[in-house]
Every structure is written in C-alpha cells, then in structure tokens.
C-alpha cells in the first residue's frame, strides 16, 4: 500500500472488518502471515509503528468523567504529542463542539461523543489512520466533515483504511470487500 491511499472496507456484519483493522494496528495477532510497515514486521517495530498509527474503534475511547478538551489533550499527550488547551478547544470547535468542550463527556450525546473522539484526527500527525465504523450516530454535517478530513489526509500522502457501510465517495477509492 503506497502513500496517499484510501481503502474502504466493506462487507456484511461479521465478515471480519473489525478483526482486520485490529490486526493492522497490532492489537490482534494474525493467525497466519504478517503485517509489514516499510518492509519490517510490525511485531518487531511495535512502538515505532504505533507512533505512526491512529486507530479509532467502535468504542469512542472517551472517558465520561473528563471533559472533551481533557480527553483530547490526554490522549494526545499519551501518544507523545502535546496539544495546548487553545488548540484542543479549536479542534473541538471545528468538530462542532464549540461551547461544550468543558462539559464532562457523560453529558454529551452519543454523536457528540463520537465527534469528540474524532477530533483526535485533527491534531494527530500520524501516517496511517485505521477507522472502524466511525460514522455511526453522526449526522450528515459531521459525516461530510470526516470525509473532508480523510480527503486531506490522503491528499497529504497519508493512508486511511476505513470500515464503513456508508458510501464516502472519495476520489480514487480502493475497495476491499470481505465475505463471510
């Protein structure tokens, strides 16, 4: 897979989209074969590799007790990227959470929490995005926002692999259809 590639993973429920993404990010060991990054097995690269990857799963990865800003800043700090309060608030504003960034995340709706999780894509500088059903419970505006985020990322030479049932209609989409 070369830089600037966008892959849309499709397939019926239970066909292994999530498993594939989890294998790609190294959470799951493949039963056979291996995943290579720049020619090296990700199992031996591990920390260098995960520094290049942003994985967003089914579950939002948002702590209910923390506000959206705190969530964003902490998850980035743990990935070695320090984000100022202003930058975090700005990113959340872009995701349509202006005015709600300081509320505890448990007071946000499902879609708003999803947006708060997706704000990570705005501040991270990783090459490989692995997104698993991230469009669930998002409204049309947010979906087109995510779409343009992915478009920019891919145009800038990044790789995005997205499992979704919705049509993203990006130019030069590669499709991978999994079957059961």
């Amino acid at each position: 897979m070369s830089p600037g590639t966008f892959v849309q993973l499709t397939g019926p429920n239970g066909s292994g989209k999530t498993s594939l993404l989890r294998i790609l990010c190294g959470l799951l060991a493949p039963a056979e074969g291996k995943i290579s990054w720049n020619g090296e097995d990700i199992r031996s690269l591990s920390e260098e590799y995960v520094a290049q990857v942003t994985y967003l799963g089914h579950r939002h990865g948002i702590k209910d007790e923390l506000s959206a800003v705190e969530n964003l800043r902490i998850s980035n700090a743990l990935n070695g990227v320090s984000v100022s309060k202003e930058r975090a608030a700005e990113a959340l504003g872009q995701m349509g959470l202006a005015g709600r960034e300081s509320l505890p995340a448990r007071m946000l709706s499902e879609g708003q929490r999803r947006r708060a999780g997706l704000a990570r894509l705005l501040v991270c500088d990783t090459n490989l995005w692995l997104l698993d059903e991230v469009l669930t419970s998002l409204d049309k505006g947010a979906v087109s926002l995510v779409r343009s985020l992915i478009e920019n990322h891919v145009a800038g030479g990044g790789i995005a692999i997205v499992a979704t049932h919705q049509e993203l209609e990006l130019p030069r989409t590669k499709r991978l259809e999994l079957t059961t």
């Binding site: 990857v53 702590k63 700090a77 743990l78």
Partner: protein, 219 residues
C-alpha cells in the same frame, strides 16, 4: 508520558471520589468491628491487632482492584493505551502507581488512627504504618496481574479474589509479623526487610506479567 498516565488516573479517581472513600470506610469499619465485638480485653486486642489490620487492608484492596482496568476496558481507552508509543509495562506501572496512591495510601495513613482502638503503643503504631507503607505496593502490583487476567470476564470480582489473595500471603505474614514483633517487644527489622525484598521482587516482575495478561485479554 508516564506522568500523564498517573495524572490521568488520579484525576479520574478525583472525579469519582465516592469509589475511593468507600474503600477507606470499608477498611475503617472492618477494623473497628473487632474491638467492638471482643470487648475491652486489651491483651487479646493487642495480640490480634496486626493480623486484623493487615487482613482488612487485603480485603479493602480487593474492592478497588476490579476497577483498575475494567473502566478503561469498557470505554475503549484501554485499547488506546495499548496503542501508545511506549512500552506497555510503563503504562501498567503508571496505572498501578496511581492505584496505590488512590486506594492504598489512604489506608496506610489512617491505619495508625484505627490502630489506637487496639491499645497499641506509639512505637507499634509507627511499625504498623511502616509495614503497610512497604507492603501495600505489593498489593497493588500483584493485584494488577489478577485484574488484567480477569478483565472482561463475568464474575471477575470473585475470581480476582481467588486468584490474588493466596499470592498476598507472604506480604501478610511478614507485614503482620513485623507489627507482632513490635508488640512482643522484639525488633521488627527482619520482617520489614523481607517485606521490602518481596516488594522489590513484585515491582520487577508484576508489570511485565500484567502487560502480557492485558495483551491476551484484549485480543
């Protein structure tokens, strides 16, 4: 980054203070039930005090261990922690350290106060404090292995006790032994040294074991 993990867990604990307080209250109540039940027989109370306080500390730490990874597991942040570019054992060490501060340190600090009910001398109370200070990191460290192994299982809370409590026995023997020696008027230093050695060994091995267990639990 290590500091961020500790900071994050401390902040989360602060936002859920009730959890932390319930552990402390459990400890205080369990320890206080014995003098109330036995009555004012000071000699007997002094004899049983080391064991009672230590056993109460073990049981109290059972209450909080279930939460060590379970909350992060449920909301998906544990996956994200596994995908941070740093060795997993450091992440585990940070979380375990935060757990010690939140769940064990309050017990250590309050133990001399509840120990007064057992008519312990000032010197013995000091040794009680010291033995818990050295011994409770063992509880957090070994407990984290159990918490990681039982992650996502049904009835994990009971399983964790069955798994971890037997491993606490050395800490219990040497910890309570140190206080007992002080009650008897002999030197507790041998017991404390062994307890310290046990703490160092668990510090060396349990973060790796926990990291391995977490990887298995999240597959």
């Amino acid at each position: 980054m290590w500091r961020w993990i500790v900071w994050r867990d401390l902040m989360l604990a602060w936002r859920r203070r009730a959890d932390m307080l319930s552990t402390v209250f459990f400890f205080v109540i369990v320890v206080s039930l014995f003098p109330l039940g036995i009555g004012p027989e000071t000699q007997l109370l002094r004899t049983i005090a080391p064991g009672v306080v230590w056993v109460a500390a073990l049981l109290a730490s059972m209450l909080s261990l279930g939460r060590l990874f379970a909350n992060d597991y449920q909301d998906g942040t544990l996956e994200q922690l596994l995908l941070t570019p740093q060795p997993l054992f450091l992440v585990v060490l940070g979380k375990t350290f935060a757990h010690w501060i939140v769940a064990e340190l309050p017990l250590v600090l309050i133990a001399p106060l509840v120990g007064v009910q057992f008519d312990l001398s000032r010197e013995t109370l000091w040794i009680l404090f010291l033995s818990l200070l050295v011994g409770t990191p063992v509880l957090s460290l070994i407990g984290s292995v159990g918490a990681a192994l039982t992650l996502g299982l049904r009835g994990g809370g009971v399983l964790i006790s069955l798994l971890v409590l037997p491993l606490y026995i050395p800490a219990l023997i040497f910890g309570a032994g140190a206080v007992e020696a002080s009650v008897m008027g002999t030197s507790p230093s041998a017991h404390l040294s062994l307890l310290g050695a046990f703490a160092i060994i668990s510090l060396l091995f349990s973060p790796w074991a926990t990291a391995a267990a977490l990887r298995i639990s999240l597959e």
